[in-house]
Amino acid sequence: MSGAIPDSLNEQLSHQLSQVVGFIYPNEVETQWAILIVVYPYLTGIVAGAFILASLVKVFNVVEVQPIYRLALLTALSFMLVAGMPLQLHLGHPERAYEIFFTPQPTSAMAMFGFVYLWYLLGILLIEIWFEYRHQLVLMAQQSRGLLRGIYGALSLYSKDVSPEALAFDHKASKLITIVGIPSAFLLHGYVGFIFGSVKANPWWGSVLMPIVFLMSAIVSGIAMVMFLYILLSLVRNEKLDMRCLDKIGLFLLVAIIVDFTLEALDYIHRLYQSEESIGILTQLVSSKLFLSLVVVQLLLGMLLPLLILVLVRSVRFNEELRKLLYFTTSLLILVGIFSMRWNVVIGGQLYSKSLRGLMAYKMEITGIESLLTALALLALPFIILTVLFRLLPPRWMESHAPAAAN
């Protein structure tokens, strides 16, 4: 069956084969899960993190972060809508993906993820946002005309009741959903970690700590994303930032990074100390192929530097402008760092042979389905969705349009 494979694949694999160091099983030349599967846990992580930040307002009454409550919810939704796409696109038979829902295999982590995803999107996020916005939607429907009136009317599911009792019920309902939402968010991203952590064939992945490491890094990335967007939006719209809010987010971010760092350090120390059969090849992996992306980008730039900056901001009295700048830099560094972390897990786990005798290479395609361009498009898409959502559901509309008594 020569010539049965496309030239581009042949070229890619030939190149990857020429880069092999040591011995690998022959079927291992191909990188099975490539850039799209790096993007997937990155997006899901931001969803979970942003939601958990939002839930601080509702469940734990952290009033300082109230100004970003809606931003965080809409961020979670925008990323959630895209999170499933890389998975779908990377399938050999995307047209059969529905099989996961109709004939799921209960023992498969991936099959169950489909349900967790749906539950989180339909059962939690959309309902929470609906209750949060219902009052505004009713008013917007009343105050607009034509098509918009129809849209808002439909979005409010034609409810009209804005009596204090009804609003109180909205409030209660959304609190309840948040309470269910927190474990669901944990489940959502913990599960992604489990997809990797449960693969015993791959010692780089197979770790009980994987789900919890994924979860903590998700929280870090979600908070960083909301912080980034909050500062960015204020710049774009020339609005004043609520510094109390920003400082509070900074504090949560600091705590989350410390926990995340501790967990990851624990994982590495444990591996080094246990020093199992795989330790030799993994050390070689980290000190060669992953040095830049793991040690430099993920650890130094994406974790320790932000940690240092956040500690500084808390201990030295910088003025507002400088603080803003530092927060902005930190959030960017973290977002890059966590992307790197996803890369190091997903790609890193496929750069060494399961024979533990050699290292492989991954050459990313620039165009095509599983390529850099698709990845960039998928990373940009949530921001586009977010812009639309902002137009449709302005987070601060109530402040200027609602009758004074309503608040």
């Binding site: 038979h93 498969s108 099959a111 693969v199 399961k354």
Partner: protein, 253 residues
């Protein structure tokens, strides 16, 4: 929204959800059993393969036969079975090479390396694990185990997610670029259910591969199992391989 409205919506929503759920098990079917002759009784067999490492001369004929029999792409990235060569050096160092990925076997034997104290070949293939992690992870049940103990992929059902390839500790699987579905050794299921031997076993000039039925009484494999010291690959992973190696060196993973 008031309580009554909410309840009304809930009453609409939950039955819808329940209906969906009720539909799911109905749609759940096991992967279609592989085609077998009408008089074939899968429950009567439990297939395995013995590999006599000392007998393999590294001629690669089994690999070629397998590629031809099973339409495995020719390119050196896709194998249902392959041969590894191990060279143990004076200083204890082990060098391993997969000889099946070479474009052609060298015309002349390479000059003898005096530091090599021992060389041997190890045929590899899917271990047809009795406790297969690849089956466990498949989200749609496209990878399944037959009653006679062979792990197969239903290519009409496989969605090409590649999770099984990740989960196999032995690198036995690849994604077939033609069908875009997972692929691997089937023990030549289409042949053995007809009473024939797998292609690789049939062509092996030294009988280094022994195919058999572990449920059979006077079976060659049962005898092979009895008279040799048997090892399996990566036993610590508890996959319970049914490819049984005799005279296997501890260096082999």
């Amino acid at each position: 929204m008031n309580k009554r409205e909410f309840l009304k919506d809930a009453i609409l929503f939950f039955p819808a959800a329940a209906t969906l759920q009720a539909l799911a098990p109905a749609a759940e079917g096991k992967a279609e059993p592989a085609k077998t002759p009408a008089d074939y009784d899968a429950t009567k067999h439990w297939y395995g393969m013995g590999i006599d490492v000392d007998k393999c001369i590294g001629c690669n004929r089994c690999v070629e036969a397998c590629k031809a029999e099973n339409d495995v792409p020719d390119e050196p990235f896709f194998f249902r079975t392959w041969i590894e060569r191990y060279q143990i050096h004076e200083n204890g160092e082990t060098r391993v090479e997969c000889i099946s990925t070479r474009a052609a076997l060298p015309e002349q034997a390479p000059p003898e390396d005096p530091t090599v104290v021992r060389t041997f070949f190890v045929p590899k293939l899917c271990n047809q694990c009795a406790h297969p992690p690849c089956v466990q992870v498949c989200p749609v049940g496209a990878t399944f185990q037959t009653q006679d103990g062979v792990v197969l992929v239903d290519e009409k059902r496989c969605i090409g997610c590649r999770y099984c390839i990740q989960a196999c500790p032995y690198g036995a699987r690849y994604l077939n670029p033609r069908t875009k579905t997972a692929d691997k050794c089937t023990f030549c299921y289409h042949r053995v259910t007809e009473g024939l031997l797998p292609a690789c076993v049939e062509v092996c000039p030294t009988e280094a591969r022994i195919f058999g039925d572990l449920k059979g009484k006077a079976d060659r494999l049962v005898r092979f199992h009895r008279v040799n010291q048997i090892s399996v690959l990566k036993p610590d992973l508890n996959t319970e391989p049914k490819v049984l190696y005799a005279q296997l060196d501890g260096e082999v993973r």
